[in-house]
Structure formats: structure tokens, C-alpha cells
């Protein structure tokens, strides 16, 4: 039986491994880019998300042999987009209009976690922060 549920409910069930065969939502999860890069949703709540990736310079390395900053940008954007999708209704969509990243340290190999939280929510524009650990 088809069961149309909210994005938040769908993602919670997905994270908990409790999706039923008929469960669906109007957004596409897991996203194609997250399948390509093998990113996982670790934690989800209203306006909050943590996404992980097993980063490895053998796959994601740049010319300095560290994990490429673009991968961190994508990880953060996935996390922020997933957090924001929990607010989206069926007749709405969303787009990132700004992303600023500060790199504190190089990374070589291991699991990275990007955790996003809201700074300010408006009707049209919502500001987020995301920490990559």
C-alpha cells in the first residue's frame, strides 16, 4: 500500500532502517550525488542533519595528496540541504544561494561527519552553519 509521508518522517524511517515498501515522499532520497559519493545520513531532526562519508585520498585526493576541499563543500551542502528539506512541503522546493567554507585542517583518511544547524529561519531565506569533524 502506498504511504505518502513527509520528508522528515521518511528520512527518520530511512535512518532507523524502518522504511516500509510502500513509504514514499515527494523528494528523491537517497540523492543521486550521495549514492555516487557514498554519503550516509547519520542523524536527522527538524532543521538538523548529520551526513558522513568515508574519505580517502586514494579516491578523493587532490594534487597535495589531501582530501579535496570540494568534497568537504559537497558534504556540507548535502548536510545543509538535508536539514532544510525537513521544512519543505509538497508544493515547495529550495536551492542553496550561498556557501562559505573555512578549512581548519587537512584530512587524509577516515570518516568525516558534517552536522548542520539553523542560525536563522526566514520565510524565504534560511541561514545555516555546518561543522565538519
Amino acid at each position: 500500500m502506498k504511504n505518502n509521508i513527509s520528508v522528515l518522517e521518511y528520512l527518520k524511517k530511512m535512518v532507523d532502517g524502518k522504511l516500509n515498501s510502500g513509504d514514499f515522499t515527494f523528494m528523491n532520497y537517497p540523492t543521486n550525488i550521495s549514492k555516487t559519493l557514498n554519503m550516509q545520513i547519520e542523524k536527522i531532526a527538524l532543521g538538523e542533519a548529520t551526513i558522513s562519508i568515508n574519505a580517502d585520498i586514494d579516491i578523493h585526493g587532490n594534487q597535495q595528496n589531501t582530501v579535496h576541499g570540494g568534497l568537504m563543500c559537497e558534504l556540507a551542502d548535502q548536510s545543509i540541504g538535508t536539514a532544510h528539506s525537513t521544512f519543505i512541503n509538497e508544493n515547495e522546493s529550495f536551492a542553496s544561494v550561498d556557501l562559505k567554507i573555512n578549512f581548519f585542517a587537512p584530512f587524509w583518511k577516515g570518516k568525516l561527519f558534517a552536522t548542520s544547524k539553523i542560525i536563522r529561519k526566514g520565510k524565504t531565506l534560511t541561514h545555516y552553519e555546518c561543522k565538519i569533524l
Binding site: 568537504m72 542553496s96 581548519f104 568525516l112 561543522k131
Partner: protein, 31 residues
């Protein structure tokens, strides 16, 4: 669910801020 899945003392690799625009009505339909 408050399961600790990583060490919160783990080194911070990057800090990001972002602005997301919610699209309503016709703009939400896209292509």
C-alpha cells in the same frame, strides 16, 4: 535519538555557513 556516533572532541576540519532559499509556487516547479 541521542546516540553518540562520533567523538565530539574530534578535530574540526572545516566550518561552513550557507544560505538556502525556499521556493514557493511556480518557482518550485523547476523544469
Amino acid at each position: 535519538m541521542n546516540v553518540k556516533f562520533y567523538d565530539e572532541n574530534k578535530k574540526e576540519i572545516a566550518y561552513v555557513t550557507s544560505v538556502v532559499m525556499t521556493l514557493h509556487g511556480e518557482k518550485a516547479k523547476g523544469r
